[in-house]
Every structure is written in C-alpha cells, then in structure tokens.
Subunit: 128 residues, 2 copies
Amino acid sequence: MSNRRNAVHEILRQSEGFRSAQDVYAEMRAEGAKIGLTTVYRALQTLVDSGQVDVLRTDDGESVYRACASVHHHHHLVCRRCGRTVEVAGPAVERWAEAVGTEHGFTEITHTVEVFGTCSACSAAKAG
Amino acid sequence: MSNRRNAVHEILRQSEGFRSAQDVYAEMRAEGAKIGLTTVYRALQTLVDSGQVDVLRTDDGESVYRACASVHHHHHLVCRRCGRTVEVAGPAVERWAEAVGTEHGFTEITHTVEVFGTCSACSAAKAG
DNA sequence: GCGTAAATGAAAACGGTTGTCAAAATCGGC
DNA sequence: GCCGATTTTGACAACCGTTTTCATTTACGC
C-alpha cells in the first residue's frame, strides 16, 4: 500500500533498539523524505495494530517503537530510586495468571506485572 | 511539614491500587480540600523521591501513584467488560517477584499484578 | 509585629500525541 | 487518457497530562 508506511517500517528495521516517533520522523526528513509527522504517527500506529511493531512507553511518557515483533511478552523490574529498568521474563507468572483466571471462570486472560525494588547501586548509595 | 503532602499521601494510603495525579486531585477537591493541582503533583513527586510512593506509567502515558507499604497484600482479577473484581492471593507470584528482584540485585521488593479477563457471565453474553 | 524562607496555586508554557480538513495521490470504470 | 470516488497525506490546531513561572500566602524565629 503506501510506501510511506513501508519507509517508516524500514527505518525501524534498520534500527537496533527502540526509536521514538519524533526520532523516526527526524531521520526520514534528514534523509530527504517528504513526510509529515502525522503520517509517521499513523504509520507507526498501523504497524503496531498489525503486530509488526512493538511499542512501549519510556519513563518520561514518550512512545518508542521497535520493528520485528516476536511477540515476546515480558515484565519490568524497576528501581524505585533511579528508575533503572530491567526486562524480565516470568513463565511462572504467565501460568499463574492463566490458572487464576481460569479457576474463576474468566477467559481471554491478560495481565500486567510491575516489580519494584531498590537496585544495588541505589541501595549502596542510600546506605552510605 | 506540609499537611498538604500528608493529605496526598493519605489519599494514596486509603486507595487500593494506583491512582493518577488528576484522580487524587479530584478526590481531594470533592472532599472539600482547598488544594491546587500543582501542589498535588509536587507532593506526589516528593513522595516518589523519598521512596514512599511507587509510580508507573499507564499505556496512555499517564503517571499513576501508589503508597508503598500496602497493608494487606492481594491482587485483582478484573473482568474487562463488567468490571467485576475478584481478590486473589498468589504466593507463587510473591515468590517469583522476590526471586526476580534478588537475582538482579534489587532489594525492598514490591510488586503489582493485575489480571484481566472476561468473566463467565460476560463471555456468555458476548457469545449470544 | 516583622522579616525571611518555604509552600502554595492559578495560569501559562511545554511536549508528545491525536484530530481536523483540504489538497494530493491512487484506484476503477470507461 | 479522463473523470469521479476513495484513500492517503500533511500542515496546523487541538488536546491533555505535566511542569514551570511567579506573585501571593503561610509558617517560623525573633
């Protein structure tokens, strides 16, 4: 369909990690592409909807996108002091959530898990 | 010091889950408290900085806050259609969260878990 | 009571995101 | 190729949660 959307997808493919919409937009403009910010957002949204792109929110509320979504479900371990975040997998939690839901007659079960703690660096700083 | 800050903290203490700043503000105003939105934000930020409150971002970019030492700890299984909520205990999850945190050198580990699903009544209604 | 410093809050600024709407590109039939 | 209908596009404004500004109020020590 639109080669704009493919162009956006291509930028993400060429990128290593997560990129923000504004970032993608800036790069495309820098490359000389005639594209509007609105279209970048729309393309990203479409890609997310069709499962071709992962999206998550940074701590300061910006959405960041990444291509090649192996729908790899994970949770976050967040330091409550410095905000450092570690992605963690939790097969035990997945199974537990599913079991708890089923046990109560619920279907189409999803879940969110956030683990908070004080990371080693911060607990050292705090102690000192 | 400021009883405004304590008031904000108190609202969070009386709350079960995460609340948004605007939500806290609305409740305080509804209770007749003379407080500004700015002060609520400032109080929340201070509480977060001092480690008395957890904060995270929702999917739509809003910051939500929760008082740290939750008294009786349990999780919620929520029907995404009718909102019916079941309190569930999850020793497996508690252990998992603790283990995951420790594994990454984190201490003072807390966690939040929300399980969503469609309850039996609603999935029946939906099917029909 | 008086002075200083901290706290407060109304309003404006900010920034990322989303909506609006007219223009441009594309499609389908001929 | 031509023409109308549909889709895509993008400049701009609107939106909304959050942060900053700054003048006022309050708390505290004397």
